[in-house]
């Protein structure tokens, strides 16, 4: 069975955050939810300044601290390497969130309809979209996925549950790449079977220097970074924050 992973080429990333937007539109995530985030960093002092960028999806760890602590097994590891969240089982305790060292979990603090970019419950909008509300909603997100047939795709489902990057499980099961990977204008994101030595991701890992984030924690992420870059250290300052607070 394929065991998927992502390889991110930092030498190619321009920090444009098109992946972030692709993720948001594909997965219908609410405001303030960044399943994919792109860090923009600054290091050093003028004129010895370095600016660089680092996309941060969920790491889909092989030793996932979030799945370990989930009290009800809503967060779990799939056989194909994806770390999934069953939004029909999650009780909303947010233990996965505090256990995750990567900050990738996004809780539905309020009803997603009310926290969407277009207020789906706005009567004006309702009238104008002929009742087809929201105006765009990915119909693939409600279904069941995997041999275990659980509800693990997409976001914005209901208030009080945890959501996060799914590696676009609904696309992957169709044979497509995750939305961020498919859309990266610089082809900096790669997705494939890390167990297959001939896959594009395995090849990249052989050809280029690579690292994983917070490797010392032994979370064994399935997201690898390649290129001349390095993991962000103490000197990396994030610039140009996204508006996270809702």
């Amino acid at each position: 069975m394929a065991r998927y992973g992502m390889v991110i080429d930092l030498d190619r990333c321009t920090g444009c955050r098109a992946c972030v937007e692709a993720c948001k539109v594909e997965n219908n995530t609410p405001r303030g939810s960044f399943w994919m985030h792109v860090f923009r960093f600054e290091e050093g002092e003028f004129p010895n300044t370095r600016v660089w960028f680092m996309p941060r999806p969920c790491m889909h760890c092989d030793n996932p601290p979030c799945a370990k602590v989930c009290p009800v097994g809503a967060r779990y590891k799939r056989d194909d390497g994806l770390v999934a969240t069953d939004w029909k089982r999650c009780i909303g305790c947010r233990y996965c969130e505090v256990a995750c060292p990567y900050g990738v979990n996004c809780f539905n603090w309020k009803s997603p309809e009310k926290n969407y970019y277009l207020d789906w419950q706005d009567p004006e909008l309702t009238a104008r979209t002929n009742g087809a509300i929201p105006p765009y909603k990915n119909p693939d997100l409600e279904g069941r996925y995997g041999p275990e047939q659980r509800h693990v795709a997409g976001g914005g489902h209901l208030k009080g549950v945890m959501e996060k990057c799914t590696f676009c499980v609904h696309r992957v099961e169709k044979g497509l790449s995750p939305a961020c990977v498919a859309n990266c204008p610089l082809f900096a994101l790669h997705f494939g079977d890390l167990d297959d030595p001939d896959s594009n991701v395995s090849r990249l890992l052989r050809e280029k220097r690579s690292f994983r984030l917070l490797e010392e924690l032994d979370t064994q992420p399935r997201v690898h970074y390649v290129g001349s870059g390095h993991a962000p250290g103490a000197e990396a300052r994030q610039i140009e924050h996204v508006k996270g607070r809702i």
Binding site: G103, W109, K110
Partner: protein, 431 residues
Amino acid sequence: MAVQERLERLPYGLGRFTPAWYALAGVLLALVALGAYAYLRQLIEGLIVTGLRDLGTMRGAAWGLYITFDIYFVGVSFAGITMAALIRLLNLEALKPVSRMAELLTIIALLLAGLVILPDLGQPLRGIVNLFVYARPQSPFFGTFTLVIAGYLFASLVYFYLDGRRDAALCAQVPSRLQGFHRLWAAGYRDTPAERQRHARTSFWLAIAIVPLLVTAHSTLGFVFGLQVGRPGWFSALQAPGFVVMAGVSGIGLLLVVAAILRRVLRLQEELTPAVFAWLGRLLLLLIVIYLYFTAVELLTSLYAGHHHEVALTRALLVGEYSALYWVSMGSLVLALLLLVGQVALRAYSIPLLVLSGLLVNVAAIGKRYLIVVPSQTHGALLPYGVGWYAPTWVEYSIILGLFALGTFLYALFVKVFPIVEVPAVQGGKR
């Protein structure tokens, strides 16, 4: 009738609800209603009405006041059943008068601990159902849920219940509105030597069983934090023992306060002698010293050998955003320590000063619980998300206040329906 003793009327003002009591109950129930309203708002709107937010790009804290008070309440629960168990195992006859009030403290604290988890859950109903159906032993919550809330609470109830049967039987002889209740509790207890012996045996074994359960339960709560490799300030082997000791500090401290109040309100000067308080004070002193030792060890480790995230977090605690709360907590603890040391050294114990110590250590306990839960989230991101912030909202404060009020109300109610101090032996029907 097998019961040798007789009561002419119910002791300790049982069944007599005074205007002052009603006034107190009214205030408490009003606060409970406020908490209920706040919770209703939260149920409708979602946790957006709290100050909680996601970690990561949202730069918030996912756990806040609810979890802080959950571990505080569980901590407080330490006092009662420990005291009861210690009294039973070590035969500390002098302390027997505080035994039941301590047990009640435990039960109510655990009840509140269970309740305060509900507002923390995004899907409370699912929380109740799914935990029974799916709970995973690997999650540290499993221990919290099964051992603390279910096991510990159940064990305490059993102990409390069995321990009260004798008094229940005594009270059941007195005709009153509460007679049925007392009779039910007594469940046919007749104070025969066989029964006494049986109770002595069960309570001994129960105490034996409860002590390890107690350590496990409090440790489990420590493990909720201590096993998280990805959060500076949490990942520490001292977390579990620290939780046990801090639980003792806050529990004994609160017990001192409760005992002093009951002593005054129920005029229990005879039963609750200064010696009892002194004993509690010495125990508290010991626990504070151990706790301070743990704190020093932890601080030294993180400042000396911690990686930069650990150091940054420690800095936020000592001199940064959390320094005010940190030093208020530590100051309270040290002040309590000094008060206690002074009294021990002089061998002169003052109940007001002991109560003050009890209050101080509880301020410290709440502060320290908060400082364990929150800063590691706002200032403990391993990826450079930047510093986060968290400020509880009125909803969170109201819910916590409501729960405190509920606990106090239940305590006050219980004191009015059941002897909070063991009814002393009476001879020939006269007290």
